[in-house]
Symmetry: C3
Subunit: 342 residues, 3 copies
């Protein structure tokens, strides 16, 4: 069991301790459902009423909540409680999770020409191809398949059954979740009298440092050049990144996003769940796409962009949708009226 005092917590996270320094914490959790041994946090002032209701032994709060927090058993005032809480989860996870065992599991199938660092952990039933390189302290989960000449950076973790294709590269401290497929062929065909002639995909995937890739997400290899994810990119589950896409540093995409071929997404962008970005477009840095929006042309200016049909009860939607199909005609009728009306 993990145990930490409020005092130790404040030292770890760097805030100002209020109340009982000996308050003993053995859990971390949300304000609601917390008990006297729970450390929790309040980052959004909207949930301030939860603070009063919560039994949490220690709460991380922003300076604005100092007064309310001072009434409690213990609290830590810090400039960004959400960030402090993120760091606390990392500290916690390192204590509750079993560390990976360095070495190659007896059932793994590792090509003799592969270079596996002695501190790396290769799980059961992993397959590693010729000339692959696995960095120091990397963890390769069960059933992963690492292609020929692929490179896995230091401290990067592949969860169970990731496919990491030939010649693809991921940097340091990456996380790839189960079922992700890095380096499948891009979808490229030349039409030939009603049939499709395959364009072999000869590029690879290059992924920077500190990148996280979600479960069952696919990142295709480039046709000729590489598909690129820069440092700090975060992709959620079931995301599709087509061939030759370039994703700028620290851009994050939520689940079910699809990015078509050769799109170029800037740095520090966010793409909401289920959004689609069409091919060969450019998105500037700091562009934010709302969930389920279809981006059909390039965006050169930072900002929030949206495009979703507002949902309604079915009967209302049907009426509006039917009328929408005559919208252009309605506009013409309006114009005609305007001309008639002095």
């Amino acid at each position: 069991m993990v145990e930490i005092s409020a005092l130790e917590l404040s030292a770890l996270l760097g805030g100002e301790l209020l109340g009982d320094p000996d308050c003993r914490i053995t859990r971390i959790g949300p304000l609601l459902g917390a008990d006297a041994t729970t450390a929790s946090f309040l980052s959004n002032p909207r949930y301030a009423t939860q603070l009063a209701q919560s039994a949490a032994g220690c709460v991380l709060v922003a300076p604005a909540m100092r007064e309310a927090a001072a009434q409690r058993r213990s609290a830590i005032v810090c400039p960004d409680p959400y960030l402090a809480f993120a760091r606390l989860t990392q500290w916690w996870a390192a204590r509750v999770r079993r560390p990976a065992v360095p070495g190659v599991h007896a059932t793994a199938v590792v090509d003799v020409s592969a270079a596996v660092h002695e501190t790396a952990s290769i799980g059961p039933l992993v397959v590693i191809g010729a000339d692959a390189r696995i960095g120091a302290r990397a963890v390769i989960g069960p059933h992963c398949a690492i292609g020929e000449a692929a490179v896995i950076g230091e401290d990067t973790r592949l969860h169970a059954r990731v496919v990491f294709g030939d010649r693809c590269i991921v940097g340091a401290r990456g996380i790839v979740h189960s079922g992700a497929v890095i380096g499948a062929d891009g979808f490229g065909f030349a039409p030939d009298q009603g049939r499709w002639e395959k364009i072999e995909q000869l590029g690879a995937v290059r992924i920077g440092d500190d990148v996280e890739i979600g479960a069952n997400t696919c990142i295709d290899r480039g046709a000729l050049d590489d598909t690129v994810l820069e440092d700090g990119v975060k992709l959620d589950n079931l995301v599709q990144i087509a061939h030759n896409v370039h994703v700028g540093a620290h851009t994050a995409m939520a689940g079910c996003v699809g990015v078509a071929g050769s799109a170029r997404i800037g740095r520090h962008c966010t793409v909401g769940g289920g959004a689609i970005v069409l091919g060969h477009l450019e998105l500037a840095d700091h562009v934010h796409i709302s969930a389920a929006t279809v981006v059909s042309r390039s965006i050169h200016k930072p900002g929030q962009y949206s495009g979703v049909f507002p949902f309604d009860d079915n009967a209302s939607w049907e009426k509006n949708a039917a009328t929408l199909r005559q919208l252009h005609a309605l506009r013409d009728r309006l114009r005609a009226l305007e001309k008639k009306t002095p």
Copy 2:
């Protein structure tokens, strides 16, 4: 080969037999394409003309179709032919499918601390982590990876290469299709000066009894509390369930649905294919979402909800879409006209 008489069928399914009790059935199939040894069903009166055209030896029909069915070689009248047919497919499947062999395949890698019931079937190349528990008659397909302290209930079947994460739980009689990833990390990060700081996901996934989960579907573990699927939930393929989502009992979601974090979906809901439910929303019981609809606010009233741009030939769509971008201005022009017109 499976063989059953019309009489035995009526006893099995509990309806009233019309016609030849000895009619011999060796296939089940749709009305069209049926032959004299096929059992079929008619549940939708829209397809009544297919009944006359069908050569099926025995047909399950509703009481309303009794007269037409009496003309046939054999028929079974039952209150809900679709439900009766569902039960028949189950009886049939149990006879045509090879039963799983109890025991642990020689190539499986099972931690010594895992508790595998002696009647469970563990397929080839399965990996089972420390302290995991596999219930009676459970079937674990090839290449599955079961995490530490995970629990698989009685009679639950995991098809090939399901990843079932640490501490996640599934109840009895569940079915998880190939490629599903249960318990990957939720997508949680705290922003820190343009970078993303990972919030370790310390919750798990708790799944009730009689739940079915489709191929390559992802259900993320909770951040602090658990992600929950109640009893009888049915999810199709390529569905994304984010961290801390709660899905009420007997709710069904079709393929490619995405549900964002902390959404709370009621009981007996249906969500059509490709729909997106945004985070932190609540859907009441008996809410039905049409395919591809984006649910952007909570729904407190049962009913059918929709929100899809009606498709059209491309030229018409382009005109209407372009006009839609001026819709608010059109409204203002209409108002101005209304003021001018006495």
Copy 3:
């Protein structure tokens, strides 16, 4: 290293050689970034300015670009440079990729009743079920699971960890990318007093020749009849094909498309990324669906069809979307005005 002269290239691809026949090519790549040993192509006249800027040693061009190409070190004039380039990528790939080794890897688990052709290559940790048949020169990647009585055609390649279900069939020269699940259960349930009763899925999946299926794509088995993909179908990643769908020959679907049950898609269709086709619809041959369009009724006429909410900056979108919810009422107000205005 692969090396070819411009003269050999022209013989291989069948065009007219201009310039230096001895120009030595060791790379293929896009016009931008090319060097004197790179073969490139120009198929889209829009990129003609790139031709002048490119250092490529040899460029494949259409007859219309003959004059510009004649100024270069070497060029090949051919009727369809994109198609010629596709063929060149195939020739190239055959030289740079390590050929699969015939035979069964020592770690594969192959049922004794399976028939594996002696020229087929079965990778490490593959599982092959009873009575399965693997054709000549087929390549089965690591961690694939081939079901009972499944059939893999000649020269077909399954990349790593494809699940290919019981009794499913794929023809010759197919490619199935990693993580694809062929033959999971269709999503079929009969409602029974608020619960869902499973309809066992007794059909299979039948796939023709020259079909390519993307990473993590799912193709469900039919309920009673089979799900069918005809010859030459190309599916991108994360596509969902539900039970009993029929996809006509040479139809292509981009990433994240969902096709609901029993839809019947014609031949030579294209479906853009993220589009949804509802169940039981028919699409004629040569129908083209734009990305992210929801097809909610059958389409009987060839052509391009679209239906996407045009995205905008968030503030503009909000105004237009809010007004859209009153569109039908606006139409009525317009009508009333029209009646008043002589």
